[in-house]
Amino acid sequence: MAVKTVLESVHDTLWKAMEEDNRVVIMGEDVGAKGGVFRVTAGYLEQFVENRVIDTPLAELAIIGVGIGMAANGMLPVCEIQFADFIHPAFDQIVSEAARIRYRSNNAWGCPMVIRAPYGGGIHGALYHSQSVEAFFAHVPGLKVVIPSTPYDTAGLLYSAIHDPDPVMFFEHKRTYRLIKGEVPDNLYKIPIGKADRKREGRDLTIFTYGLMLHYAIEAAERVAKDGISVEIIDPRTLVPLDIDMILESVKKTSKLLIIHEDNEFCGFGAEVAAIVADKGFAWLDAPIKRLCGPNVPAMPYNHVQQEWFLPGVEDIEAAIRELAEF
């Protein structure tokens, strides 16, 4: 086992998956000769034949549309959208075609593709390079939505996604790329899509979170632990399908739920989790379900004070934990 960053984990997993199965190809803007804006695919062009590392023009709609056609026709494309913010021109292809092809064809065709997109803020990307887009896609039956948060999870989930028979939206938090390190086995392995992971054991309250916020939540939980507040953290790993059982099991134990995400609150993914727990776990709850999310503003601003305010920080999480713990 080696210690890797999230970025290295994506790089190595994709690489090995391509070595193993020649149906796997990657395509996107600047992914080939230049190795990707974040250097995720650095060195690929030297290693693989050119038609497996496809540099595309600046045309997101076509990257996805073409990917869907390839996937339906026997290949396993991994399409990269340079920044999640640029995915919207391809929204139609994803929602109308990728998500429906199996349903409309009565299972005659499927769409085993992966759409990778770095998302999230904290890098001064400003209005068009910082957004979280998971809620849009989580709303669409037919798609799977995966958000890995650690190097270990990234490798296992990406390998599963590549071999999943259905379209998988694979969102990588760009701030975690180089920030988060961890041990990753050398061989390819799968983490099942649809299984959450308990990232921390606790008794007093449950936090549901993913992405960069997961790491902030762990830090905040360590801080309050000194004062005897015991926090359990559930990382869903995949938003669709959602491991409802593990969330309910945890809430049954702690009786309190704090949902944290960077995406804005209104109609965010947390709303669904809150609704499910309110419905299925009502009897166990000792406090209102709380959400700590990005504010409901149209985009993440550039200015650092505003950006920091937009992103829930360790202090914000700590305060929210203390408040809920006291309830």
Binding site: K34, D55, L58, Y128, Y302
Partner: protein, 343 residues
Amino acid sequence: MAAKTAKAKKESLELEMLLEWYRQMALIRVFETNAEKAYQEGNIAGYHHVYTGQEAVAVGTFAHLEAKDHIVTHYRDHGHALARGIDPKRAMAELWGKATGTSKGKGGSMHLASRELNFWGGYAIVAAHISLATGIALAEQYRGTDSVTLCIFGDGSTNNGYFHESLNLAAIWELPILFLCENNLYGMWTPAEEVSAVRDMTKKAAAYDIPAKQIDGMNVLNVYQEMQEAIAHIRSGKGPYFVEALTYRYRGHGAGDIEAYRTKEEVGQWREKDPIVQMSRYLTGERGVPEARLEELQAQVEAVVAEAVQFAAESPEPEVESLWQDIYAKPFPDSMSHSQGRS
């Protein structure tokens, strides 16, 4: 005698105009150098794309524009903003993310804008703004004005659906819009010819029967002369025009670009065609402008930029509350405070 004075007057006018172009190009160059310095010093962050090398395109084109005309551009927008007359202080403050910036710090480098100047701003979703520009032109046509809408984008954008759909619309509706493609040979790190089926971008305009020409974008006099016809065509109601300006960015795509995709020789060859050097040769040679006059202009723009940097440095950060401003024309009442989310 009278004729002679008139000629002398015209020449002096023209010279003043040329000197103004020189000043604008020098201003952009110095501004960009200082912006890059501020970036290195950690005062500017995020994605940062400078215009160094391409100055003649903006300056030579904008010289034809009037206050009523519109400019809609992409994220490589510092030079465009300055050439349109945005206060360098407010532009620099925006790069620094300050409350005094053109977008009060919300936008940063890629989204400079000014309503007063009909400068609609830089747009960071590549090619999306081409549709906006098309709509802006349609509104002007509807109102029956002779305003021209200038839409600027790079070679990379011409491979995108927004571009093609918009050109088709502009052609069928004969819209008063100038599509200006600044072909600097690369889209991010990819050579234009690797991702475009045609090298000559004017062929894409030809597909929609839009009159088009390819011009040398490194010489401001040339840009000005070539644009005359295009602007006159549009202003007289004959519909859209497409110009591909061949140009070059001296610096990387953005901050931190290691530029492995091109050679130092190539950059050197283009630097030999430097728009500012060409203009200074012309002015001192053919127009007999003393070197000292150009040095004076240079000193002047350096002072302007130094002042802009100081202004940016001393300006306050925006208030956190401004996060919730300008979302709707009228904010929601408190009872619907989900508009705020976390408070």
